[in-house]
Symmetry: C2
Subunit: 234 residues, 2 copies
DNA sequence: GCAAAAGTGTTCCCCCTACACCCATGC
DNA sequence: GCATGGGTGTAGGGGGAACACTTTTGC
């Protein structure tokens, strides 16, 4: 036997929900779709899974094509498969969400996609079910970041505690007490204080910190409580 | 345009990881695969997604075909898509895990599948990448049950606190202090004490409880801490 | 010298943990 | 009356939350 008989085959696509943080707001990297249908409408970056290519490789390929980046934090989100989700043809979409340091993003020279960073709280209309995908990704980001130290992936390798706090506040849309915040973050032991300061956003300057990669990898899967029930998380 | 051109189409399957609890151990509902390849090897229950059918519907259909049950707790787990995962033909498998009350399971009359409940800690070899699927499902069950009240789905509508404790202990492979356990569970306010007792497993008998469905639905998505970091959870 | 952001310490309270004894019943 | 599992109370400790003042420096 070389094939399963009597079954119908479908297109399988991968769509990437790419998060970034500009120091103030959470952003999504969106593109203007380059082909029909809905050409020039806003869309997540995506593409079809090729023969001989796994889902994760497909997502990495697509992310790389858009951003030039490799080794990015990426995680499978959900498989969307309603029969009519793509009006052209039955297509399953497996979504991945990625967290990238927005400063690492370099606009590709051959920018066939017209990619833009868009504020997460002012999203334009998106094609198909992409809004649903984004909403699920936001939820998952909140859920996961409350327990695991993934938000560091959105920051440069050197960052300050106030920057980190702004990031958490953007993700959860709340404000934290800075004393409690810094105590909690430092108590994880994940941060290493640097000798130099960031001097752009204040006169006094704030010390840089770096992730302790060893502890980060070791602790990643243990339960850490970064946020105490910020409303309703799934 | 009626089709995307130049892309290759693939089979899309759904596989169900079906958990049950017999009062002592966690179980999986497995079948002997009824067709080639690997006919008569143990396997998860699965099937191909049909045209015009969504992923979730496909999973519900397959679950129903095997168990006769509807309205079961079910959740998408992960999409597996390595190119060689099914040696016959490129197939994407979207997995769902389901929690069912083992007593509700009725062996179907036309049991073409030879389904059996198998202890989770003594799994036989499974076809393809099904072992990986099961391991991921176990992990996710632990992860989720530590925070959300999903384990009730594995029990009958009336259950006792000692039964519930046995279930938690089976899931996390630990033992809990019964005083702390019952205080914690009751403090959620999710349980309603019944007037009658279960009298099989002890002379004194243990009071039955039922889920408060209203509070259950309302609180489902808030963070509840059922388990304090039971080792390494993802 | 003043405005603006960084940095730090303490108290209180709640929840989690550890731990031991009595109760109800079938035999 | 004894063995078996059900059910409860308490004390201590740790961590989260609330809260205010000093420091640094550019202007």
């Amino acid at each position: 036997m070389t094939r399963y008989s009597g079954q119908s085959r479908m297109l399988v696509a991968v769509d990437c929900i790419i998060f970034g943080f500009d120091g103030e707001k959470l952003k999504l990297l969106l593109i203007k779709r380059g082909f029909e249908p809905q050409k020039n409408k806003w869309s997540l970056m995506g593409g079809f899974v090729q023969p001989g290519e796994g889902l994760e490789s497909a997502a990495a390929r697509i992310l790389h094509k858009l951003t030039g980046l490799e080794g990015v934090y990426m995680e499978q989100l959900f498989a969307f498969g309603e029969p009519e989700r793509d009006p052209v043809e039955r297509t399953i979409s497996v979504t991945y969400f990625a967290l990238i340091d927005i400063n690492q993003y370099v606009q590709q020279l051959t920018d066939e996609y017209k990619a833009e960073w868009v504020s997460l709280d002012a999203l334009p209309d998106l094609i198909f079910d992409h809004v649903e995908m984004v909403n699920m990704a936001k939820e998952k980001l909140r859920y996961k970041a409350a327990i695991h130290p993934i938000l560091f992936e959105l920051l440069p390798s050197k960052f300050t505690i106030p920057q980190l706090q702004l990031l958490f506040e953007a993700v959860y849309d709340v404000t934290f007490d800075k004393r409690n915040f810094s105590r909690k973050i430092l108590s994880t032991g994940l941060l290493i204080k640097q000798k130099d300061k960031e001097r752009l956003s204040s006169k006094r300057g704030a010390f840089y910190y770096k992730l302790d990669k060893r502890k980060y990898n070791a602790k990643f899967n243990s339960f850490l409580n970064f946020v105490t029930d910020p409303g309703n998380l799934k």
